[in-house]
Subunit: 272 residues, 2 copies
């Protein structure tokens, strides 16, 4: 059983990329558990044909302990991907990452491991690396961490923060797979992400072009891999899925990247 | 003394807009305190000609209590704007909003109020409305809240979350000034922000066009208002400064907007 965490700045394309990735892995025959760890709780939408599933946090509030069933929280999505949404508290009321903490405890207590998954994928908000959001970075939850970023400074700053977070509570083992370059469609992005990748010591695993097919698939509330099987984005996702499988088998190595200091980041942004 | 909090999704242009706003208010003769409340601690850069000033959080760690001076934390910026940076903890170590909590306590303990400011401006990260990040939304810190957003769904989702956060701990008094539309330069943004504004009951106070002058000013590490006094962005910022002053005098009213539910937001995004 192999666990991967997909992190990145909010809005960068984590849920889109990870839902497509889960679908592609399932299409290759893997039993996949897809867990949305963003308070926005919309990571499983494209796998569930639009249903915004009950989040674990809401379920815990509404259903008394003796009446809880794992099947209410783990839903069947396209290609047999099993789907969970952590949810988050109301804004302004407690720690935003609380849904993640509740989710890990609840799934364990309700016996998630009887499902025997091949791959567990966590789609996690990367804007703040604290509270519940930092938990999926731990060794026991993520065998490998993938960072989704564009070439925009803001998303690279967030990616660098995630690397700092990992270094701060687990500086020894190499557990970062690399960068997923999800382009915003501007020319200058290439040099920015390549400079960053080189500076921290990470590969750019795949490059996802900006494509209208995502909006089209979104309108059908499906993944691009499902609705446009012969497209360029699908080819890129399948290549990413292959990478995950090679990493899980140990055929490709994980990295121990070194985060940049604020100064180094500023130099990068300024092109120095 | 009038306090305003400027909130919005990370990367949306809060620091750029608020540094320019502080400069414009000072240019109109006001004594302004500009407090950066983003762990990125780069809100005062353009007012300090590039210096990434010592953050309150770092200062507290490095300087023992008897040796602390307010003057080490409150620096003189362009046009006499007084500058403070809260800072944030290392990613993965504790609550990301801790710098804000430390800052409010420290400034108070070291006697910030002897300065007698006309305007206090807080530039706050709006991606998560919890921990320290929720504190500047309180009545005692913000007489008025300004939301910076583009027409992109992600930033509108964040703005809506901030409204929810305010409603959750202070549902009575109207304290939202309105939206600052900082465009990303795409045509479809207009209808999205206008639909949102109408749906929640907020005015779009000013519309800041996307402009190369920001990058040019950034290269000189100055605000656009300082270096391009006769430009369109400067005109927009001055108009925003006038709005702040009219609100502070009670000549314009604050609003009590109603946040949208997830369903209403999804309808908005889908153009329903
Ligand atoms: N490569 C791409 N081309 C076009 N649109 C994209 C691409 N990647 C993501 N998007 C769109 O960007 C928006 C944000 O993506 P999402 O996956 O929700 O971000 P996140 O989960 O990181 O917050 C969605 O509307 C999605 O369809
Ligand atoms: N209207 C605009 N036109 C062009 N660039 C802008 C505009 N507003 C902001 N920017 C740029 O966008 C980037 C992010 O802005 P910043 O103020 O740092 O965001 P935030 O403080 O919200 O994280 C900066 O490089 C800034 O110069
Ligand atoms: S730990 Fe992070 S998510 Fe939790 S309250 Fe603090 S800032 Fe918010
Ligand atoms: Mg998402
Ligand atoms: Mg900022």
């Amino acid at each position: 059983m192999f666990q991967i965490a997909v992190y990145g700045k909010g809005g960068i394309g984590k849920s889109t990329i990870s839902a497509n990735l889960s679908y592609a892995l399932a299409e290759k025959g893997k039993r996949v558990l897809h867990i949305g760890c963003d308070p926005k709780h919309d990571s499983t939408r494209l796998l569930l044909g639009g249903a915004n599933q009950t989040t674990v946090l809401d379920y815990m509030k509404e259903v008394p302990s003796p009446e809880r069933n794992l099947e209410d929280l783990v839903l069947d999505g396209s290609m047999g991907v099993k789907c969970v949404e952590a949810g988050g508290p109301e804004p302004g009321i407690g720690c935003a990452g609380r849904g993640i903490i509740s989710t890990f405890n609840t799934l364990e207590n309700l016996g998630i491991d009887r499902y025997q998954f091949d791959i567990k994928l966590y789609d996690v908000l990367g804007d703040v690396v604290c509270g519940g959001f930092a938990i999926p970075l731990r060794k026991e939850y993520a065998d490998a961490v993938y960072l989704v970023t564009s070439g925009e400074f803001m998303s690279i700053y967030a990616a660098n923060n995630i690397l700092k977070g990992m270094r701060n509570f687990d500086s020894i083992s190499p557990r970062v797979a690399g960068l997923i370059f999800n382009s915003r469609g501007r020319d200058e992005e290439e040099w920015m992400i390549e400079s960053f990748a080189r500076a921290v010591g990470l590969p750019i695993i795949v490059r996802m072009p900006r494509s209208d097919l995502f909006a089209k698939a979104e309108r059908n509330i499906q993944t691009v891999v499902e609705i446009f099987p012969n497209s360029e984005p699908t080819r890129v996702i399948k290549s990413l899925a292959d990478h995950v499988l090679l990493i899980s088998e140990g055929s490709l190595s994980l990295k121990s990247p070194h985060p940049l200091s604020d100064e180094q980041l500023n130099d990068l942004a300024a092109g120095r």
